[in-house]
Every structure is written in C-alpha cells, then in structure tokens.
Amino acid sequence: MPTLTPQRLTELKVHANRVREGIIRALLAAGSGHSAGPLDMADVFTVLYEHVLRHKPTEPEWDDRDRLLLSCGHIAPVRYSAMAYGGYFPVEELLTLRKFGTRLQGHPERVRLPAVETTSGPLGEGLAQGTGMALAAKMDGKSWRVYVVTSDAEHQCGLHWEATMTAAKFKLDNLIAIVDRNFIQIDGSTEDVMPLEPFADKYRAFNWEVLECDGNDIAQVAETIEKAKAVKGKPSVIIAHTVPGKGVSYMEGDYTWHGKPPNKEQADQALRELEAERERILAHG
C-alpha cells in the first residue's frame, strides 16, 4: 500500500524541487563545493525531513528526536537546503554556505550547527558514530531511530565495514543506512576506481537486511524506508540508486560535476530547468 497520498506526493516533489533550487543558489554564492551528490539526494532528504523523521525543527536538540547523520559531509548543501526548507533556519541563510562566520561550514560541524548531529567530511566515519548512537538508544530503552546517509565511494573505507560488522553484532534494528548509489567519485566511476559490486551481497554477508530503491522516486523511497523500519533483529541498508546531478540536464550522469559548483550562467540555466520542472509537477503531479 502506498504510504503517500497523490496530493502529498505532489507536495513532496515540489519540495524536493525547491531543495534543489536552494542547492544551486547556495553553490553559486559559495563559488565552491559539490554539485552532483547534493542534487541526486534531494529526494531522499525531502522524504526524510518531511515524511519520516520524528523531529522538531524549532527544537533541534529535543532528546527524543530521530538522529539523521550525513556521513559523506561533502554533500552538505542538500542537507542544509532540506533543513532550510524544513523550517530549521531561513532559506536565505543558504547563501552563507562556506563563508566566514557561517553555521553552514563547507563540511558540517555539530558544534556550530547542532542539528547536523555529527561533524563529518572525512569519509567512512558516519556509520561508526551512528552505530554508537543506536547502541546508546538500545542501552537506555529509547525508541528513537538513527538514519545514516552515506555515499557509495566511502564504502572503500575500512572503518565503514568495522561499523557494519558491529551494528550486526548488536542487532541494531533501530539503525538504517541509506547509500547514495550514484556510481561516481572524484576520479571517475566507482567501478573503475575501486569496484564495489557485488554491493548488496557485501551487506548481506555482514548480516544486514538489504533493500533497494530508485533514490529519485519519492514514493519508492518512502515505502522502502517504511519496510526498513519494520525489520527486527538486524540493521537495514537501503541502496538508493540515484542519478548524479539529478534535475539539471547538463550535470546528470557526468562525474566531473562531483566536486565543482556551477558558474552564473550554468546556475541560471539550472534554475530555469528546475522552475520548468516545478510547473510540470504542479500541472501533472
């Protein structure tokens, strides 16, 4: 059974479109940063903040909140944008991204912006911290969950697999990892740089529940997370298949957009494309 009504689905699609707009505007203002990953995870972050998470945007340190960790800190613009459009801070603050004195550091810092839960950027560390948090929740009998968003390439880090093994040992069914499976990294395709396939089998071998979905299909993402929440006795991973640069025609599928921002002309084109897409969603759902 679908978890979203058609009307709610349309609202979330528009929301994700706005999140993408925020990403482009922030990156243009910053003049540096990553484009492809943030754009391809806009749908997942929209579903998390607007549909899944138990949280209070105006009380970000509420004790019983679900914890959302972004392990691959370099795609922070998508998180910041989703937070801004989700009511954590004014949308215009996105234009301070990467600038002196900002809470929106190039890579997220918990001390400057507690709602990001962890300081991240050095890859492969998010799942380890999420494992600790999920274990703490179990030890204290708390019902909040931990969601950890990771990139695919950071699965090349050994520490990530230390955490994978440990989360399974402690049967952390309150822990859900979501992998941005976009097949790109700085030096090219993940399968050329350091092959990750058979990817799902690796997690199965580590005694995790493995779910897959189209990470750019909001309805599928929402349904898959619901399935993961129902898993008992082991952690779950959702392999979210995404198109890098999703929503901006000239970036889609091009790994060279992994680590650079658009210039003014490119950003203007991206914003025009996103506006046209928003009109199409509103007209046709």
Partner: protein
C-alpha cells in the same frame, strides 16, 4: 622576585626505597580500579574494549558492570568513532587499547569525531613507552603525547604510578570533554600514597630544590627521585616537579620552577620531539628563557628487550638523568 612556589612545600610521598624493596604495581592496574569506581558512581560511564580487555585492565569492569561494557573486537578506528556516537547520546565512554593503536591508529577519528565534535570520550592508552619491553617497537608508543597534545580541546594526562592513575581516571570521568589518559604495562614503583593530592592541570612539587628543576611525567618519576637523591649527596639540590597534565599544562608552576632554579631538565618516556618536554620548552621560550635539557627517546624507535634494560639503553635511567642535570647546571 616573588615566586609562585614560595611557601609551597613538597608533597609527602611514599618512602623512597631502593629498587629491590620498593612496592611495584603497573599503572594500568590503577586505571582498572578507577574505571570500575567511575562506572559505579555514574551509570553513564561505559567501557569499550577492542580485544584487549585483560591487558588494558578492563576485565574487572566487564565482570562488575556487564551492562556498561561493550566489546568490539580489533577495530581501533571504530573504537573512537563509535564512542563519539555513544557520547553524543549522553554516555561517557572510556575506550581502551594499546596507545600505539588508540590513539596511534585512530588519530583522524580522534581529531574529527572526538575533538572537533566536542564529544565526552576518554581514551585510555595502555602499554605506552618502550617499557612495554619484549613486544618490540611496533607496540611501543613513544609519539602519542605529541599527536594528542596538538589537537584543540584535548586534555592529556600521564599519571606517575598506579595510585595516581586511579585518581586521574576518576578525575577525567568527572570532567566534560575529550581526554587522552596514558599509562604503562610493567610493574613500576609506587611513589605517591592514597593521601597525596591530585588535581588535573596542577603540577606537583615532589621535591624542593634550588639548583636544577627536573620536570617529569609518568613512570620515570621514580628514576628522577633516585637521581635527585644521588645528586644531593654531591651537593646538587634538585627540585622535582611531577607534571602529570601535559595539556592544559600548569604554566605557572613550570615558570616558577625555572625562575627558582635557573636550569631545567625534562624527563619523559616519549620522543623528545613534540612531547611533554617540548611543551615546557614552548612555555619557557616565551615566558622565561632557561637552559633546558631533554631526557627521553631521541628520534629513534624502540626494540625488544627487558623494560629496565630498554629504559637504560634509551637514556632514561637514573644515571642518564643525573648527567642531564649536570649538563643543565653547567649551562646556568
């Protein structure tokens, strides 16, 4: 000139006996006792171990407080990062392994997930120094103080004997913030008593003196006291400062000791580059330039051997300390 040490008497210590008769207990035992006590006082104190529960002396904690104990196997990077996650959710994790791996292997995780992230994690680095002995250079951490003291927010503590290690363990459990607590494997002389005070960040005068100040941390305190006693017979009056908190260091006591004696020797079971002595040099260079000699490992790796033999070989025995004092004195 007024001196911050005016009126400060040396602390009462255990009676200084020769090596054959002195009571010897591994500093790690003090950690083991302290962490259990901390866990009983506060149920949020947890212990995480990476397959070394017996040798890091966490086994007693596991038996006494099983619900507060976590075993994660040989994963030292995880040890830190997972502890940071637990600390974010209100726990006070003590994470134990050999100093060579914790924090030796996990430096970036320490920097990012503990220090930059400001999480309340306590690293217990066991088997520090060449005094690990037969295990050899791979397991002898002699760079750990350097790599911890350069990280913002980090507190670094190197207690001098088992009694002080227990006190230090309890003290760091009480404070909020990331800590590196360093201790050793071998039985080493117990120089303090249960009554000897201990305060984080406050260096201790173990012996009053006017000719040369010996600033020491860790298990070499005994060798320093022996050297000072020998030198006294030759008319050289040494002050002995137990400088257990490397960061934040007690600058006032260090400067006052340099002012009173006019020459300083630092002693530590660590590389002389970047360790406790380097911090003393930084302070004195800025506040009171003073002739300074460094006792420690001089840019070499350790090797297998008997602990006492290695301490002698690498120039950290009482005789080597006496020689350093004489060099410092000659430069006054």
């Amino acid at each position: 000139m007024a001196n911050a040490l005016d009126g400060v008497a040396a602390m009462r210590l255990a009676e200084l006996k020769d090596p054959a008769n002195v009571k010897q207990v591994p500093t790690r035992n003090g950690f083991g006792e302290g962490v259990i006590e901390a866990g009983k006082r506060n149920r949020n104190v947890i212990a995480i171990c990476a397959d070394l529960s017996e040798s890091t002396r966490m086994l007693g904690f596991k038996e006494a407080l099983p619900d507060q104990y976590i075993e994660i196997g040989v994963s030292e990077q995880l040890l830190v990062a997972m502890a940071a996650g637990l600390a974010s959710a209100g726990k006070i994790p003590f994470i134990a392994s050999y100093a060579m791996f914790n924090p030796g292997r996990s430096w970036e995780q320490v920097r990012t997930t503990m220090a930059l992230n400001e999480t309340n994690v306590k690293i217990a680095g066991a088997h520090a120094g060449v005094s690990v002995g037969p295990d050899g250079a791979t397991h002898q951490a002699i760079e750990d103080i350097a790599i911890m003291r350069c990280i913002p927010h980090m507190t670094v503590v190197v207690p001098c004997d088992s009694i002080q290690t227990k006190k230090a363990t309890l003290a760091v459990a009480e404070m909020t913030g990331p800590v590196y607590l360093r201790f050793g494997r071998e039985k080493t002389p117990v120089v303090t008593t249960e009554e000897t005070p201990f305060e984080l960040g406050k260096a201790q005068i173990f012996r009053e003196g006017r000719d040369v100040a010996i600033v020491v941390c860790g298990i070499l305190v005994y060798n320093v006291l022996i050297a000072a006693a020998t030198l006294a017979k030759h008319g050289i009056d040494c002050m002995v400062v137990n400088n257990h908190t490397i960061k934040p260091m007690d600058e006032e006591t260090i400067v006052a000791a340099a002012q009173r004696c006019g020459a300083v020797v630092t002693v530590e079971e660590h590389q002389v580059f970047g360790g406790m002595g380097s911090r003393v040099a930084e302070i004195l260079a800025q506040r009171r330039p003073t002739p300074l000699e460094f006792v420690g490992v001089h840019d070499r790796f350790g090797q297998s051997g008997d602990p006492a033999e290695l301490i002698e070989h690498y120039g950290m025995g009482a005789v080597a300390i006496e020689a350093a004092v004489r060099r410092a004195l000659a430069r006054k």
